[in-house]
């Protein structure tokens, strides 16, 4: 996995709450058996005026000029500023894959849906929870200034604005450690293979029915 230590980038404001994973990447694109190539279909139904189809050349499609990512000032954004309960709905990891493929590295919101939040960390994407009033302030500053950028430091757990104002954020130690070092967490878990086998042996004694095949 790609490591994440620090990132500085342009901020795009997505001013609506409860953005669901169907909105982030609609179902027709989930038919791919790959992890890449979802970027052109990120927010497909908001971004284009027509109905998107898999394997289509998106450069020829009519754009919705009102959508933030179609506006020149946000086209190269890598920090997504969002509202509460971002990523609610399905467990599709295609949502973080699409955000990543578009070029996002950080998502900031007052709250995230659990499964989406978890999926981000598996893909080198950093979801940051900041208090509602701080998010409000960042929305105002983003809209006021063209090319507004934020600097995120995962080691220090801070988000810093262009004026030098800094906000701390919380993140689990394990997740932070994996992300900072780009660790493959399957490898980390397999270091405990012995413990897993011990657990299984015990369970076979106490709950043998869990190891039955069907008949």
């Amino acid at each position: 996995m790609r490591a994440f230590t620090q990132h500085q980038g342009i901020v795009a404001p997505m001013d609506r709450s409860n953005v669901d994973t169907d909105m982030i990447i609609p179902k027709q694109f989930l038919k791919s058996i790959k992890r890449t190539g979802f970027g052109p279909n990120l927010f497909d139904e908001l971004r284009y005026l027509d109905e998107g189809k898999p394997d289509q050349d998106c450069s020829q499609r009519p754009l919705n000029p009102d959508f933030i990512l179609n506006q020149d000032r946000y086209k190269n954004a890598s920090v997504l500023l969002a509202r509460s309960n971002f990523g609610c709905g399905s467990s599709r990891e295609h949502a973080p894959w699409a955000l990543d493929d578009f070029g996002f590295r950080v998502i900031i919101a007052p709250s995230f849906a659990d499964i989406f939040y978890n999926n981000c960390f598996k893909n080198g994407l950093l979801p940051i929870v900041l208090p509602e009033e701080v998010v409000d302030q960042l929305f105002r500053e983003t809209e006021e200034k063209d090319g507004y950028q934020l600097t995120v430091d995962l080691e220090a757990k801070t988000v810093t604005t262009p004026s030098g104002e800094s906000f701390g954020f919380d993140v689990d130690d394990f997740r932070r450690h994996c992300l900072l070092n780009g660790l493959d967490d399957i490898g980390v878990t397999l270091e405990d293979a012995e413990l897993i086998r011990d657990y299984e042996e015990k369970r076979k004694q106490t709950a043998p029915w869990l190891f039955n095949a069907g008949n």
């Binding site: 038919k31 790959k34 309960n85 990891e93 869990l210």
Partner: protein
């Protein structure tokens, strides 16, 4: 010291290792696989040169992409080549790794969350995962069950464990008895309406109280299924005789001495009387009406006697903007009565409501009636091949067909419209599925979430109607 909640017990029983950093390794007893969220996980295993840790813990079936007609053609019946590749990829992966799969022509094929319980592959006390957020369904059996992403599917395949942090405990208690015509679906929609789509974020919810105890396993599965729509990855109901009666005699259920031993353990799977919850929410079951969602989030829901809200009366600016946007997308007017919403299609199916009891409830309403000529389509999609067979043995298929509903083959179908079953732009659908998000059932489609009985009532009238008026 306070007693343990059901979630505490399930967590402790699956704890392999508590790490110093607050994370833990949790053992997974059962993984269900389907074609959409597994191909990249199998590919990851291959790229890393890893093998599945415990092959017999996995069961697979294709469900999202399968057509609901022409099933005798098998995979060749999938017209969309991209969908076909995904189903073929699941077959290839399962064959290569020796994983049990109920393939497209197998009578045991169906929606993962229907076939797990049906086979007894979902048993009380298990930890169960699947790359699908509605895995919470299995919590109805007193399981620790939740949806995971594809990276975690790969992690479970490779290690039989998940890295987790313990969630907080929430009790949702539904007191009293439900009225006639009020189902598990109405209860869970009412709960989501009350606590909101993020109300359960970070919590494992246990559903309890007299109304929950009085529900069948089908009703409990419907409620746990939609825990995720309240933000909670995990929803659970304690084990009781209803649970045991359902589980007994199924293909994967224990037999003989093992059954007795299992039951002794399963009977401990409830929260202790002195267990403490981080949050408790109570509802009066007797006051719950048949529910209908009007907006683009499951929390945008009201009783069938209600009306579409007026954004002018909402004080919170973000919520107001949300209502305005939802009404525009849904093509509804503020203060419009729910019973005045005209429908184009009716969909009875999905992992929320496609089990035998759901189909019986819908059939009871349409029996002797006809689908309204104002509808373009009304379809019934059973949750599995075995549900279909049972329904046909009971003659439910004939009731549906005589009334003018289409009787289809099993799969996820129009719940998320990955196959050919979808809404056209601007069409309103009474749907027994779980999500009314924009575009969920088709580009520009407008979903109203309801119970099977309410969907059936809508099918014969062409608009929403309180099903209790048709129940004499």
């Amino acid at each position: 010291m306070a007693g343990k909640t059901l979630y505490d017990k399930l967590w402790d029983d699956h704890l392999v290792k508590q790490r110093d950093d607050g994370s833990a390794l949790i053992y997974i007893d059962r993984q269900l696989l389907h074609e959409v969220t597994s191909p990249q996980a199998f590919e990851g295993l291959r790229l890393a040169g890893r093998k599945p840790w415990r092959i017999d813990a996995n069961i697979a079936t294709p469900d999202h992409n399968v057509p609901t007609t022409d099933r005798d053609k098998g995979i060749d019946g999938i017209v969309d080549p991209v969908s076909r590749t995904q189903v073929e990829t699941l077959d290839k992966n399962c064959d290569e790794f020796g994983i049990l799969e109920f393939k497209i022509k197998d009578q045991r094929q169906g929606i993962v969350h229907v076939i797990g319980p049906e086979q007894g592959a979902t048993l009380p006390g298990m930890s169960i995962v699947c790359g699908d957020s509605h895995t919470s369904t299995h919590g109805a059996f007193g399981c620790l069950a939740h949806g995971i992403g594809t990276s975690e599917v790969e992690h479970v395949l490779a290690t039989q464990c998940l890295v987790q942090k313990k969630m907080k405990n929430m009790l949702v208690k539904v007191n009293g008895k439900l009225g006639p015509g009020v189902t598990g679906k109405d209860v869970v929609l009412a709960i989501i309406g009350k606590i909101g789509t993020a109300g359960g974020t970070g919590y494992a919810i246990e559903f309890g109280g007299e109304a929950i105890r009085g529900l069948s396993m089908e009703g409990r599965m419907t409620i746990c299924n939609m825990s995720i729509e309240a933000g909670a990855r995990v929803g659970m109901v304690a084990v009781d005789d209803t649970t045991l009666d359902y589980v007994r005699g199924r293909p994967f259920s224990p037999k003989g001495d093992q059954w007795d031993k299992a039951v002794a353990y399963w009977n401990t799977l409830h929260s202790d009387d002195d267990a403490e919850f981080d949050k408790v929410v109570e509802l009066d079951g007797a006051a719950i009406m048949p529910q209908v969602s009007w907006g683009t989030s499951p929390e945008m829901v009201t009783g069938v006697d209600g009306a579409v809200p007026d954004p002018a009366r909402e004080e919170d600016p973000i919520k107001r903007e949300g209502i305005v946007r939802a009404l525009k997308y849904m093509g509804l007017q503020p203060n419009q009565k729910i019973t005045d919403i005209k429908l184009d299609r009716v969909f009875i199916g999905s992992c929320t409501n496609s089990r035998i009891e759901d189909l019986r409830e819908a059939a009871a309403v349409v029996k002797g009636r006809k689908v309204s000529p104002s509808l373009k389509q009304a379809m019934v999609v059973p949750g599995s091949g075995l549900v279909k067979v049972q329904a046909e043995q009971e003659g439910l298929d004939k009731i549906f067909i005589e009334a003018g509903l289409e009787w289809r083959d099993p799969g996820c179908s129009m719940c998320l419209a990955m196959n050919a079953d979808k809404l056209g732009q601007g069409e309103h659908c009474a749907s027994t599925s779980n999500r009314n998000f924009e575009g969920r059932q088709g580009f520009g489609g407008r979903t109203h979430l309801v119970s099977p009985a309410m969907a059936a009532a809508a099918a014969v009238t062409g608009h929403f109607v309180d099903v209790r008026e048709l129940m004499h």
